[in-house]
Amino acid sequence: MRKFFNIAILSCGAAILFNDAILPADQESPQFTKPITGDQAVLHALGRLTFGPRPGDVEKVKEMGLNRWIDLQLHPDRIPRDPELAARTQSLEDSPAPAALAQRPRTPLSPRQANALRRATAEEDMFMLSRLPENEEVQVLAAMPLIRQRVIAMLTPELQAKVRAAARGPLVDAVKTNGKQAGQKLAQAKFYRALESDRQLEEVLTDFWFNHFNVDAGKGADRILTAAYERDVIRPHVLGHFRDLLEATANSPAMMFYLDNWQSVSPDAAVNRNRPKQAGRGLNENYARELMELHTLGVDGGYTQKDVTEVARCFTGWSVQTPRLNGPFVYRDAVHDKGEKIVLGVRIPAGGGKSDGERVLDILARHPSTARHISRELAQRFVADDPPQPLVDRMAKTFRDTDGDIRAVLATMFNSPEFFSEGAYRAKLKTPFEMMVSAMRATGAAVDNSAALAQRIATLGEPLYRKVEPTGYSNAGEDWINSAALVERMNFAMDLTANRVEGVKVDDSKFSADPAQAARELLFTNASQQTLDAIGAQSDPAVVAGMLLGSPDFQRR
């Protein structure tokens, strides 16, 4: 009912009049009005703003004061960077393929010669090429795909093979090798950061926003573009203004490639007439649709198929220079649709260029549906799978009042009574990544090499950087719980404390043999009676610890 109410208000364009105060107070579930305090509140905050407490964290936060600690986490620049961690992650997060860049095939021709080739017919090309020494002919054809396609059938089979090999050459090989490792290396770095960074909220938010603006590191050029995407596009903006984050993703080669926009061109752009090979090229709606459905408005945010097509027209020409060579992003005015567009009722006059797409980003970032969609997603991640609507509404109001200041929206949430309520306490089931990292943080595990972890997480249901669909992974904890994933959580817990996970070392001499005491050390609170009963008289500290980390108690945060 409430949902319908919101949509109705939105559709008459008066969302700004929507006032939280008119909501009757009884719309809040009573669980979200019962406060939690003291150690419980500290443990709760650690469970939501970090990837799980380490030994001593509860005391540190208490000493600093909970509010001061939250404020510090909201300002990661005030927390010193850990140089050891930076050194550890740097090589893993470097964009690959500089070697391939250097070996990119180059034509030995002058620009005038190259142009002559382009403008000629296939037969004329053949004549001109035959004047070159063979190695140069191969080089030219490797570097000029249009000419290659035009004449390749006329070459001898031997020459065809040479040309194809030269064209493919080190580039594809680089993509392929890096491809196998790219997602894997990033996953390794992600484990190191989540385990060791003191800027924990920044890491949690990088996980959240990467997932919100998901790209798949297994898709084509995104094998080599994803590293820079997380490092330069997502991470710098996780606590900034939403509009900047949105713009950064729209201007990223990784996103333009992932959602196919790099090839979307105006069907009647002038360039097509001069390049018969490209005739028939035109619009691709993929990015335009996901931009509205997933990145901003939400699926019920009030857009139509017509809007999707119009937005796609606005983004024609937002492309990638050389996808297989680390981008970069490029705007190609020649293939941009210059006509008039109407997006969500707003007229975008004819004759615009890149500004058309920027105008769309403005409209979407400031749309009240976006404020609500983003606020709900954040509340789902940080508060409860089905977050209380009054909280979401207040966060959305902050979003609108601050022009999408993510830090301010988070502050509204962290300072809310709903956040520190019984309804939120232990309401979230951990994602596989949260479960694995929190187990290693709780046990103080030393991770020398996270390669095995990066592999293993797939069996718990969350292959990192490899979510094929643009939806990203679910923010609802319950979606992660099924028989296969649950069994693998138990296996990970037992393997971890028995030192059966390669590259990870736990010091089991630190664990208590008494299950009740061990629970307080690993769960930072008492275990449930059912869990203690099941552990029974077990007295091997490593086994007890494994059972606690695999227990129902440890699957929530």
């Binding site: 196919d260 090839q263 719980i481 296969a484 552990i535």
Partner: protein, 411 residues
């Protein structure tokens, strides 16, 4: 009142007409008078990403198809390896689906064209969700049609409903037991001390979400590990492709043959969202061809492996929506509307393309761009639920859809 014996015989007649009958058929006919102790099994395959049905079961008799897809259309059937494999003079299979042709010819593969969800959404997420919940347009349905298709039982098998993969799909969620199994051999708690403690913990916990899943997991682990002890060789020389779909179907076949009480199984195959370069230099290469190759070989291997046992099994395929009738500007297709479904099994009246053809002229298209819908996906799934699984409570399996129009794929 529907008679199982009658449908076996009538489908048998259809098959004799179509050519060689498989060996199981005569035995099934003889056995039809005796009550069958074996349950019927329904295997659902979800092709995520929105498969381009028009390039899979190609309307080669439709002029507009070729006009709308100058770069993507599969050439009319001419017997060459890169042309359509004709089925009925109007429709034909994509050439990479050649392994399915003998099954079609044997009358055990039926096809429904122009089928899908009546909901207009072109969102992958919503459309998949609607097709799995079985309630198009209704976002609050928390359980799935395949779970509701199970009949309430007093002592159900812990593996009566299985999804192969690391996630339990929406289609299988609900109050009947359903388990996700990533692979049969890894599905266990490796540490024996841990296994018994965890079983007790999850059995007794007050955490209702974890308690339910935990109990189901441990029951299922025991049943699966009993099967897993003996090595497995597919029958009939069946060769499953190495991809996930083939391997998942092999494990489903294994569970079926082990008679562990499997009734419904689910698996999915991703990667059908071909906005760019859908078709390569020729129809049998490229992204769509690769997926279809794997898809056709996987289904054919499953069919061969199960042999006689296909008498009890139906396989049905679905994808959230179809793709634009017209190719887009990047040698691909965008999100569309109606699609195609396959139904394979001993009980299926195959060898036929079902459904009314809406045509592809502009005025015949949905919103002037996509293939129109003439069959609701619940007509197909509903028929399998009622006539194959024998659950006649169609109104509770597909709430709000109590009067489906069966296409008579069965019986």
């Amino acid at each position: 009142m529907f008679s199982r014996r009658l449908f076996l015989k009538s489908s048998a007649v259809a098959m004799f007409g179509a050519g060689a009958a498989p060996a199981w058929l005569s035995r099934a006919l003889y056995a039809a008078d005796a009550p069958s102790p074996r349950k019927k099994i329904l295997v659902a395959i979800f092709q995520r990403g929105a498969m381009d049905g028009l390039n899979v079961v190609v309307p080669h008799g439709e002029k507009a198809y070729y006009a709308l897809r100058p770069n993507l259309a599969i050439p009319r059937p001419d017997g060459t390896p890169d042309s359509v494999i004709d089925l009925d003079g109007f429709f034909g299979l994509h050439p990479s689906l050649a392994p399915l042709k003998p099954i079609y010819d044997a009358g055990q593969l039926g096809i429904v064209q122009a089928v899908g969800s009546p909901d207009p959404t072109r969102s992958h997420f919503d459309a998949q969700d609607f097709m799995e919940s079985g309630t198009p347009g209704e976002k609050t349905t928390s359980d799935g049609w395949l779970n509701r298709a199970l009949v309430e039982e007093r002592k159900p098998s812990p593996v009566r409903a299985v999804s192969l993969g690391p996630e339990l799909p929406h289609a299988l969620r609900g109050h009947n037991e359903a388990v996700a199994i990533d692979s049969l051999n890894s599905f266990k708690v490796g540490d024996a001390r841990g296994a018994s403690a965890f079983e007790a913990m999850y059995g007794d916990t007050h955490d209702q979400v974890l308690k339910g899943t935990g109990r189901e997991a441990f029951d299922a682990v025991k049943r699966v590990q009993a099967v897993e002890k003996s090595p497995y060789t597919p029958a009939g020389g069946a060769k499953y492709p190495n991809g996930k779909l083939g391997q998942n179907l092999m494990q489903i076949a294994r569970l079926i043959k082990a008679n562990v009480g499997l009734e419904v199984a689910f698996t999915d195959v991703t990667g059908w969202d071909h906005h760019v370069n859908e078709v390569g230099a020729k129809p049998t290469v490229g992204q769509l061809a690769n997926l279809l190759n794997d898809f056709g070989q996987s289904l054919a291997a499953f069919y061969t492996d199960l042999g006689d046992r296909m008498a009890d099994v139906s396989v049905v395929t679905m994808s959230e929506f179809g793709r634009t009738a017209k190719e887009n500007g990047t040698r691909g297709t965008d999100h569309g509307h109606a699609n195609v479904m396959f139904a394979m099994g001993g009980g299926i009246k195959g060898g036929k393309v079902y459904g009314d053809w809406p045509g592809m002229e502009r005025e015949q298209l949905y919103e002037s761009r996509d293939l129109n819908l003439t069959t609701d996906f619940r007509d197909v799934l509903g028929e399998l639920v009622v006539r194959h699984l024998g659950n006649r409570q169609i109104a509770s399996v597909f709430p709000g859809y109590s009067q489906p129009k069966f296409r008579d794929l069965i019986g």
